[in-house]
C-alpha cells in the first residue's frame, strides 16, 4: 500500500517520467488504434507489432547502441515492409488477407527472435535490456528515450486531430471519399504510417507480443459505451491511459516484472466490464431488456385469456380461478399466480380470495391485444394470402410488439373490419 501512495504522490522524479511516459504512449496507441478498429483492420495491427522486432534488432546492430532514434527508424522500416508484403501477397496471389497476415507475422517475428538471440549471445554489453521490447518495460522509460518517444506520441496525436474528419470518412465510406476527390491513397498511407509509429513507440511500454491489445482493446471497450465517435476516442484514450499508468506502477514496484502483460490484464478487465455493464450495448442490459419483453408477453397473454373467458359470457369482470385460465392455456399454477400478482400490483386485475378479475384498465389493455391479434390475422390473410390456419402464431408475436402508430395504420388500411378470418369479433373502443 505504501508503494501505491509513494507512486501516486509522484514525488520521485523517476516515477513522474515513467508514469507520464506510459500514459502518453498507451493513450496515443489507443487513439491511433481506434481507427484500425473502425477500419476493421485489427489483425493488421498485430502483424505490424510482430514485424517491428527484426527492425529494432537491425537498428541496434547498425547504431551499435540502444539509440532510440535508430531503433524507431529500424522498427518503422520493417513494420512498413511487412504491410507492403501483406498487400502484395493478397493482390498478386490467390492467398486471402488473413492467411497473408498470419504468414508475414510469424516470419518476421521468427527472424526478430533469431536476431535477438544472436545479439544476446554476441557478448555486446550495450545489448542488455533489448529483450524488454518483447514484453515491455515501462520503468525503462527515462531520460533520452522518454523525450524521443514522447515527441513521437505527441506528433501522432496532433496528426490524428488534424486529419480526424478525413480518417473517419475513410473508415465509414471509402467510395464516397474517392467520389469527392479526397486523396484516399495518400491519407491511407499517412494512417498506416501512424499505426506503424504507434506500434513502434507503444512496444516500449507493452512489448511487441502484446502490442495489438493496446491498439484494439481500448477502442473495442469504448465502443460499448457510446455512439459518438468523439466520445469513443476520448474513452479509448482514457482506457489506454489507465492501463498505461497501472503498468507503470507494476513496473515501479516490481522491476523484474514485465509491464506488457499487466497492461493487457488491466485493459482487458476494462473491456470485460464494458462488455457486461455498458448501458444498451452491454450483455446485462440486453439480458434485462429481453427479460422485460418476456414479462410483458406473459402479462399480456394472461390478460388476453381473462378477456377471452369474459367474451364467452359477455361479462369481463367475473372473478376467475387460476384453473379456469389454465384450461385455456397451460401454465404452472405457481408461475400463473406470480404473473397475476404482478398484474394486481400494476392495477390490471383485482383479487378476491383465490379469484382474479380484470379491472377497467386491464380490460382495455386486453382488448387492445385481442384487437391487434385479430387485425393482424386479417391482414395476413387479405394482403399476403396466407391460409387462415397458419396466421395464429404470427399474430401471437405481433400483438405484443405493435406501436400505437402502426396499430392505427393497420386499422385504417383494413377499414375497421368487424370480424377476423375465424369470424371472431374485433373489439374497438366505444
Amino acid at each position: 500500500m505504501n508503494s501505491l501512495v509513494e507512486f501516486l504522490s509522484f514525488t520521485d522524479p523517476n516515477v513522474r517520467y515513467v508514469a507520464f511516459g506510459s500514459v502518453l504512449l498507451t493513450a496515443s496507441s489507443a487513439i491511433v488504434g481506434s481507427f484500425t478498429f473502425l477500419n476493421k483492420k485489427s489483425l493488421v495491427g498485430d502483424a505490424i507489432a510482430h514485424a517491428v522486432l527484426p527492425g529494432i534488432c537491425l537498428g541496434f546492430l547498425l547504431a551499435g547502441t540502444k539509440n532510440p532514434v535508430a531503433l524507431i527508424a529500424g522498427a518503422f522500416i520493417t513494420g512498413w515492409i511487412s504491410l507492403v508484403l501483406v498487400e502484395f501477397i493478397t493482390t498478386k496471389t490467390r492467398i486471402k488477407e488473413d492467411t497473408a497476415i498470419g504468414l508475414i507475422l510469424s516470419v518476421f517475428f521468427g527472424i526478430g527472435i533469431l536476431m535477438l538471440t544472436v545479439i544476446q549471445k554476441s557478448g555486446n554489453a550495450a545489448q542488455s535490456g533489448l529483450d524488454h521490447f518483447l514484453f515491455g518495460k515501462a520503468a525503462a522509460l527515462t531520460g533520452n528515450d522518454l523525450v524521443t518517444f514522447g515527441i513521437v506520441a505527441i506528433v501522432l496525436i496532433a496528426i490524428v486531430l488534424v486529419l480526424f474528419k478525413e480518417f473517419s470518412l475513410l473508415a465509414f465510406d471509402k467510395d464516397y471519399a474517392r467520389s469527392i476527390g479526397l486523396p484516399v491513397k495518400r491519407i491511407e498511407l499517412i494512417l498506416t504510417s501512424l499505426i506503424v509509429l504507434a506500434v513502434v513507440i507503444g512496444i516500449q511500454a507493452v512489448g511487441v507480443v502484446l502490442m495489438a491489445a493496446i491498439l484494439i482493446t481500448p477502442a473495442a471497450a469504448a465502443r460499448f459505451w457510446t455512439d459518438k465517435i468523439s466520445v469513443m476516442f476520448l474513452l479509448a484514450s482514457l482506457f489506454g491511459a489507465i492501463s498505461g499508468l497501472s503498468g507503470a506502477f507494476i513496473s515501479y514496484t516490481a522491476p523484474a516484472m514485465p509491464t506488457g502483460p499487466w497492461i493487457v490484464i488491466v485493459i482487458s478487465t476494462i473491456a470485460f466490464i464494458s462488455f457486461f455493464l455498458a448501458p444498451r450495448r452491454g450483455v446485462i442490459s440486453r439480458f434485462v431488456r429481453q427479460a422485460n419483453i418476456r414479462k410483458t408477453i406473459n402479462d399480456e397473454n394472461v390478460l388476453k385469456i381473462l378477456y377471452q373467458l369474459g367474451e364467452e359470457n359477455q361479462n369481463f369482470t367475473i372473478p376467475r380461478l387460476p384453473d379456469e385460465i389454465i384450461s385455456k392455456r397451460f401454465y404452472d399454477t405457481q408461475v400463473l399466480v406470480s404473473i397475476l400478482k404482478r398484474l394486481h400490483r400494476h392495477g390490471y386485475v383485482d383479487k378476491n380470495e383465490n379469484r382474479w378479475a380484470l379491472t377497467e384498465e386491464g380490460r382495455n389493455r386486453a382488448q387492445r391485444i385481442v384487437k391487434i391479434h385479430r387485425l393482424w390475422e386479417l391482414y395476413l390473410t387479405t394482403y399476403m394470402h396466407i391460409a387462415p390456419d397458419h396466421v395464429h402464431e404470427d399474430a401471437d408475436t405481433i400483438e405484443h410488439l405493435l406501436t400505437p402508430e402502426l396499430e392505427e395504420r393497420l386499422e385504417q388500411q383494413l377499414g375497421y373490419p368487424k370480424v377476423d378470418p375465424h369470424q371472431s369479433n374485433i373489439p374497438y373502443n366505444n
Binding site: 486529419l163 474528419k165 465510406d173 467520389s179 476527390g181 465517435i229
Partner: protein, 262 residues
C-alpha cells in the same frame, strides 16, 4: 441541349475480366435518368467508373464537357446503402455533414454555415425528427434518405445514385421521386441505378439499358421498348462471357499497351 455526361469507349475490367465492354453514352442536362439491366449487368460499375472510383481499362469520361477533375465539385455520388457498415459511431447529422467535406477541403472542420446547409437538406428529405439518431437505429428507408441528404448537401449539378430505392417503403420511394423531380426541374441531372421495371416509364425521362454492353440509351418514350427489353434481359451473350472468363484465367490485359489514348 447541353451534355451532362459523355462516356466514350469505356471498358472496365475486374481482375482482367471485362464487366463493361466499350460503352458509348451521352446524357443531356436536366434529365432524370434510369440505368437498368439484370443483375451483374455492370450498372453500379458504370457509375463507379464514371466517378473515378474504379480504374478504366480504356476510354474516357467527360462531364459538362470537361474532365472529371475539373468539375468534381459539381458532381455527387450516392453509394449503395449496403456498401457501408451502418454500425459506425455517427449520427444522421454527422453523415449529412460529410456532404460538405468536398467544399471544406482537407484539415478544416465543418463551420456553422455547413451545419445550416446540412439541417436544410435533412429537412428536405423529411428526417428532421432524427438528427441526432445513431445511424444503425434507422430503418432502411431512413438510411437511404440520410444518404440522399448528404448528396444534397454537396449542392451539385449532376447526381449519381446507386439503387436509392432499394429497401425503401412505398411512401419513401414516392417522396424521393418527387424530390428528384424538383431537382431536375432546376436543371440538375440525376442518374439513378434502378431495378423495378414497372416504374421506369413513370419515373424517368431517359433510360440507359445495360447488359455488360450498352443495349440502348435515349428518351424513355422511344427507347424503353419491348424489343430493347428483350435484348437487355433475354439474350445472354454466352460467347462474350466465355471470352471474359478466358481473359481472367489467362491473365490477359484487356487492352494492348502503348495504343493511342486521347
Amino acid at each position: 441541349m447541353n451534355t451532362a455526361l459523355e462516356i466514350h469507349d469505356l471498358t472496365v475490367a475486374f481482375d482482367r475480366k471485362p464487366v463493361l465492354w466499350n460503352i458509348d453514352l451521352m446524357i443531356p442536362q436536366g434529365q432524370l435518368v434510369g440505368v437498368i439491366g439484370p443483375n451483374g449487368a455492370g450498372k453500379s460499375t458504370l457509375i463507379k467508373a464514371a466517378m473515378g472510383i474504379l480504374p478504366l481499362s480504356s476510354g474516357y469520361v467527360r462531364m459538362f464537357d470537361k474532365p472529371l477533375e475539373d468539375v468534381r465539385e459539381r458532381i455527387s455520388y450516392v453509394p449503395q446503402r449496403e456498401s457501408v457498415d451502418w454500425d459506425f459511431p455517427a449520427s444522421v447529422l454527422d453523415v449529412v455533414l460529410m456532404g460538405r467535406y468536398a467544399k471544406l477541403g482537407l484539415f478544416k472542420r465543418p463551420r456553422k454555415a455547413d451545419k445550416d446547409v446540412a439541417m436544410d437538406c435533412i429537412k428536405k428529405v423529411g428526417m428532421e425528427g432524427f438528427i441526432n439518431r445513431q445511424i444503425s437505429q434507422l430503418s432502411g428507408g431512413q438510411q437511404q434518405r440520410t444518404f440522399l441528404a448528404r448528396a444534397l448537401a454537396q449542392q451539385a449539378d449532376l447526381y449519381f445514385m446507386d439503387e436509392p430505392f432499394a429497401g425503401v417503403d412505398a411512401a419513401t420511394e414516392k417522396a424521393i421521386v418527387t424530390l428528384l423531380r424538383e431537382m431536375t426541374d432546376q436543371k440538375k441531372t440525376v442518374i439513378v441505378v434502378h431495378h423495378d421495371l414497372q416504374s421506369v416509364s413513370q419515373y424517368f425521362d431517359w433510360v440507359v439499358m445495360l447488359n455488360t454492353r450498352l443495349v440502348a440509351a435515349g428518351p424513355t418514350d422511344t427507347t424503353f421498348t419491348a424489343q430493347n427489353l428483350e435484348a437487355t434481359y433475354g439474350g445472354k451473350l454466352t460467347l462474350l462471357t466465355d471470352v471474359a472468363d478466358l481473359m481472367h484465367r489467362e491473365n490477359y490485359p484487356s487492352r494492348e499497351e502503348n495504343i493511342f489514348k486521347p
